[in-house]
């Protein structure tokens, strides 16, 4: 029954025979595990197509909103973080397998006559894969993506015809806006996938036309069929690749920084790991040599790759005798590894600064108000002022106090004739004045929900008069740096150390050392200031 249907279908479309044509291919006796990578690369591309389509149904391709919708995918949509992670790590895993595929082809000498065209198409496919990586990197529109792409476009401007290319990309290299974003998006989801699909098909047809490269001596052995033995090996390889990818998805968080900020001066842009070697090479070639390092050298390397079949025209020999090729690949790998390792070692620790969840109310109000909440709680104010309804005192949530601050200070010291006198320090009483006279919606929300830790931190902040010099949530002096977004500039150990010896961490700092605070107090204060978002 199924056979009849298949035959009917095949007679009219030829599809079944076409698949058979590939499955029934005769391959040399030496074919085996070393030739699985092409299939894995193709599967990797298909997976990127599937996960990319899934991302696209919840993604808004415009600056700003792109980041919001991506955050929505990662935090709100069911399995959204899995899909995003598959796409992100899938890209890296695809580049690895494409490069391994190329290295294998090179080592075994499979680019030689008559397979020159297959090889050259392969080099083009590698470049397309890298173009996917480059264009996709911007689409997250987080701060790292923005700045890395700025650097990339500047490098492009160095190349001959680079300014033309930049015009095509809709930028002058100084900033990246909606137009450039739209062009990167168009390239990533329309042009590149089309080209890639087309060229993969051509590559496949050429592979089938010329057959799998035999090793010397294969001509005397009987040939094998592609199906099922080699298909089995390819499937196992694809499966192992998937297991590796699944481990990355399960255990490594995809970095997503805060939304792109063209005014941020604290960021050190870095490209994705597979471009780090280029980045590092540019450090070696500086000044007048920059053009050589950024354009000439990569250009020559690409040219040599493309021309490989015409540079090396020797006859096919066994892999063990291809010492030249083995040396070249080894040197390439060592050079790439060394450059990448140096780049990683010299990259300042990127602080994963922004939590993707919306900030809590207590993270948005000035420290004085949060300290006021602390005073309200520790001063037993709630025994008369019940939040949310009128008790012995008025409900403080419904209206901002219009009493003069002198009256309030006196009231806080001695709330009522029959009430005991308050033992709160003056700083806390001032904080209370701030709270009841200034609080807005966030203040009310924080009053009800702020956890004890941050409240204690804000109380310390208030008591040590940090706001004399520092601004935090729009309140405080300008003598020291603003503290909003501190966590994207420094990590916890730095801030902790800085409190006890500011001069050591920031030479010339005017800040006094706060070594009078106990260790737990310092930790609470540090946690508090680090929790305040940009």
């Amino acid at each position: 029954m199924i056979r009849t249907v298949l035959k009917w279908f095949d007679d009219r479309t030829g599809l079944v025979s076409a698949i058979d044509y590939f499955l029934e291919e005769e391959i040399p006796a030496s074919a085996g595990w070393h030739q699985v990578f092409g299939s894995v690369a193709m599967f990797a591309f298909l997976l990127q197509v599937v996960t990319g389509l899934l991302m696209a149904v919840n993604y808004a391709p415009t600056p700003g909103e792109a980041w919001e919708s991506l955050r929505y995918i990662v935090t709100q949509v069911t399995a959204g973080s899995v899909i995003h992670s598959l796409h992100h790590w899938g890209a890296s895993a695809m580049i690895i397998v494409v490069v391994v595929h190329m290295a294998q082809t090179f080592l075994w000498g499979a680019y030689k006559k008559p397979r020159e065209a297959t090889w050259i198409l392969g080099v083009v496919l590698l470049l397309l894969t890298l173009a996917f990586g480059l264009s996709g990197y911007l689409l997250t529109w987080d701060n790292r993506a923005y700045w890395a792409t700025i650097v990339t476009t500047r490098i492009t401007a160095l190349a001959p015809g680079g300014s033309m290319l930049l015009r095509v990309l809709g930028t002058d290299g100084n900033s990246i806006g909606r137009v450039t974003f739209a062009r990167f998006y168009a390239a990533h989801v329309t042009l590149l996938p089309l080209l890639m699909t087309l060229l993969i098909l051509c590559h496949l047809i050429l592979v089938r036309t010329h057959g799998v490269t035999p090793a010397p001596g294969d001509e005397h052995k009987p040939k094998k069929k592609f199906f099922p033995e080699q298909v089995f090996k390819d499937t196992v390889a694809i499966f192992l690749w998937c297991v590796g990818l699944a481990c990355m998805v399960a255990f490594v968080k995809v970095p997503l920084l805060h939304v792109a900020d063209p005014t941020d001066t604290s960021i050190t842009p870095r490209p994705e790991w597979y471009f780090l070697f280029l980045f590092q090479m540019l450090k070696v070639f500086q000044g007048p040599l920059e053009f050589f390092g950024a354009i000439v050298l990569p250009g020559l390397a690409m040219g040599a790759l493309v021309m490989m079949p015409f540079i090396d025209r020797t006859k096919l020999v066994r892999i063990r005798q291809r010492t030249g090729a083995i040396t070249l690949v080894a040197l390439g790998a060592i050079g790439w590894g060394a450059l990448t390792a140096t780049a990683v070692a010299t990259t300042p620790h990127q602080i994963d600064d922004e939590s993707l969840d919306d900030p809590q109310a207590w993270q948005l109000i000035p420290a004085s108000q949060l300290a006021g909440i602390g005073a309200f709680r520790s001063g037993h104010c709630a025994s008369c002022h019940v939040l949310g309804r009128s008790g012995a005192g008025p409900d403080l949530l419904t209206a901002v106090s219009v009493k003069p601050s002198d009256w309030l200070m006196d009231h806080f010291r001695k709330p009522a004739a029959d009430a005991p006198e308050s033992d709160l320090p003056t700083a806390q009483l001032r904080a209370l004045v701030q709270l009841v006279t200034k609080r807005d919606e966030n203040g009310i929300e924080a009053w009800k929900t702020a956890p004890a830790g941050p409240v204690q931190g804000a109380t310390l902040y208030q008591a040590n008069q940090c706001s004399t010099c520092h601004t935090l949530n729009k309140e405080g002096g300008k003598l020291g740096p603003e503290l909003n977004g501190l966590r994207s500039r420094h990590d916890r150990a730095w801030v902790l150390g800085h409190f006890s010896d500011p001069e050591k961490y920031t030479p010339g700092s005017q800040m006094p050392a706060f070594d009078n605070l106990s260790d737990p107090d310092l930790a609470t204060l540090t946690d508090y200031v680090l929790a305040i978002p940009r």
Partner: protein
């Protein structure tokens, strides 16, 4: 008994099928969850104040325009909305979704005939939303509606059944 090459061949084929199915399932399950399960975070929108109660007369439905807050995908939006409000007595109102339950056209109140009528396929609803005629499959959908201190407050749609 199968000979050795045949056993090996069937092992290969079984292994290919098994591994391929595993991979397909590992992709299809998250993909299905992603597309089919409702995203979290669509919190309750709260009530919007739309009009004063004493602007309405008992037994005379009125279309009211108001602004409502809604979570729309990755954005919290404030958008224009409308509802048909019917004052039922001195203290309470009923608010209807302004879309006909047939195909979503905007119906209107026919004063002289004393019923709602939809211009698309002539569905007719009574003042309490019941279907009187036409293809509409169910009574008009209702919004949560409250009266507090003389103000009419409208919320999200009441779940049917």
């Amino acid at each position: 008994m199968l000979n050795e090459p045949q056993t090996r061949r069937s092992f290969y084929i079984n292994a290919i099928n098994a591994l391929a199915s595993l991979i397909a399932a590992a992709i299809a399950i998250p993909a299905a969850a992603y597309l089919l399960i409702r995203p979290k975070g669509a919190e309750d929108e709260g009530l919007a104040e739309v009009a004063d109660l004493n602007q309405l007369k008992i037994g005379k439905p009125q279309e009211v325009l108001y602004e409502r807050r809604r979570v729309d995908g990755w954005r919290k939006v404030t958008e224009k909305a409308s509802t048909w409000v019917v004052r039922t007595d001195d203290h309470s109102v009923v608010a209807f979704n302004p879309a006909c339950t047939h195909l979503g056209c905007a119906y209107h109140w026919d004063g002289p005939a004393n019923h709602f009528i939809c211009p698309c396929h002539s569905s007719v609803f009574s003042i309490d939303g019941k279907v009187l005629a036409g293809p509409a499959p169910r009574p008009l959908d209702r919004y949560v509606a409250k009266v507090e201190a003389g103000k009419i407050l409208i919320g999200s749609q009441v779940d049917q059944g």
